[in-house]
Symmetry: C2
């Protein structure tokens, strides 16, 4: 089953291809709006934009490896993708982004208004889909995730440019941005399959650790760059307090602290400041220590799966944890 | 029970005062966020801003007149107010408003970002509250209302400045803006009280007709003015296709059509145009015919209550329907 050449993400997609086709059909059917054609225009742009369907696959894999053979996992997987897409739409307004995955964002092609309202529409559609599962336990999990996501976004906003931001706050923001939906995706898949509590817990913990690893890697790549179209230094310019910066600020001498206060704190950034910031991260080894943290979270994700019955899908999820951090090795 | 002097809204508030106090306590408890103090700052501004708690009262009254004596109606009433407040926050971003009810809006005091994210937070909190009722039927009603609201907002956006907008589209927008949440509020109250289907249906229909009447009145007041701080002509300047305009455009000769195409259609508005628009509405009597429609919807709301068992709260709801249109009589 394992294949050193093919990416675990692609192997998961192959193993779940029938389910994924049903998820795509559900997404297309539910994003349609008879009366407001702007809605599918905006969402199709996002949903077709090369998204990897990572979150829906987490739900499908969790349900399948728990032996589920009904239909609700498909609805849940579409729910999770809708919540993710709605969050992206609202994020683009918040970040005033003009690019995502190397393509123009919806708020640049249309306007902020459409991004806000179509995001709301997708939230409401996701809500209808999950109600159709008829599982109050699933609804409770996803409602909790939605609250964590929203709180994390507000927290990120207020933590930006705040040099006093702690690692604890960073972790809370990372859970809101990424891990809360990952863990809800895996946990809901297990719950819909009526898995034993220990397995539900294990799959929740896997999703949580995978999501934290994923977010730490994303923040590292903002300093180190990769090939997905993200510009190095965006977070620095936006004053985001990610782990490498939090640690460099904690270690800073008085002179360095002034630098961080001017750049991250006040957003007054000139030529050479990005390079100097990077040199400070290197001086204190904070990119390296952050990289170790990401690997540690990936290892936790893999370890959580020990409580899950053996299954080829379980092995793929374990490989996925390694793959998420492979970009920074 | 009836009192010609006191407003029905105030009499409802008096009759439901214990329940309303519990709703307020629930709202305060649930809008708190341990980690993101920006959230209660933004929401308190809105929730304390002289809102009349009309929607929560609809839920409380519906549940009580169906004989309910549990706790879930309080959660549902808080849910409905949270959804309403979240919608206001997102509307302020969409409209780029700087005043609501005569006070500065949240997006002026803070920023668009906070309005979007805190709105999302309130949606997620409302979602958690309704899951706590444990009623899938209630969840289905509120999920459907959320989708109608979101779709109506997008529809309003695409219908603005479009002279071809029909009365059917107007009605759909009015349901999205107002009536969908009114009818969900009354219907959910009846459902949580386990009322017979005919009563549930009647209370839904009451809320729907009340909401449509309410929205038509609101749109009329944009032309006629009142004392709630709304500026006459806002909708005209924003190119909103409300009933008086839709009807005047339909009756327009070629010259008048050019006027509407320039002003509503293209937003090119100069001195005297608002007065001229008003004169065109008067020429075709569209304010008067729209006023008749509002009265008709209020009468429908009152009539729907015939299927509801006699109760002092039922009479107050009937009086409320008259009161909603009293501002334009």
């Amino acid at each position: 089953m394992t294949d050193a050449v093919t990416k675990p993400h692609d192997r998961l997609a192959a193993a779940l291809s029938d389910d994924l086709a049903r998820v795509d059909a559900t997404i297309r059917a539910r994003m349609a709006s008879e009366h407001a054609p702007r809605i599918p225009q905006v969402t199709a742009h996002l949903i077709e934009a090369g998204g990897k369907r990572l979150r829906p696959m987490l739900t499908l894999a969790a349900a399948r490896l728990c032996g589920y053979d009904g239909d609700h996992h498909v609805r849940l997987a579409a729910t999770v993708e809708f919540i993710h897409t709605a969050t992206l739409l609202h994020d683009d307004v918040v970040d005033e982004s003009d690019r995502r995955r190397g393509r123009p964002t919806a708020n640049l092609l249309w306007d902020n208004t459409s991004s806000v309202l179509v995001g709301d529409y997708l939230f409401s559609r996701s809500f209808q889909l999950m109600v159709e599962t008829g599982s109050l336990r699933v609804l409770d999990i996803l409602a909790g995730a939605a609250a964590t996501i929203a709180e994390g976004e507000v927290l990120q906003l207020t933590a930006a440019r705040d040099l006093a931001t702690t690692e604890e706050t960073y972790l809370r923001v990372a859970r809101g941005k990424t891990a809360a939906l990952f863990s809800a995706a895996t946990e809901a898949g297990a719950v819909v399959a009526d898995a034993p509590d220990a397995v539900v817990r294990a799959l929740h913990d896997y999703g949580d650790a995978l999501g934290v690893a994923f977010q730490i890697v994303d923040d590292l790549l903002d300093w180190e760059g990769d090939d997905i179209g993200k510009d190095v230094g965006d977070d620095f310019r936006e004053g985001k307090m990610t782990l490498p910066v939090i640690r460099a600020v904690a270690a800073a001498d008085a002179h360095e602290r002034e630098f961080w206060a001017r750049t991250i704190g006040k957003g007054r950034i000139g030529d050479g400041d990005l390079g100097h910031a990077r040199a400070l991260l290197d001086r204190y080894g904070t990119l390296a220590s952050t990289r170790r943290d990401a690997l540690d979270w990936a290892a936790r994700a893999r370890a959580a799966l020990d409580a899950v019955p053996p299954d080829p899908l379980r092995d793929l999820l374990a490989d996925l944890a390694d793959y998420v951090v492979a970009r920074i090795r």
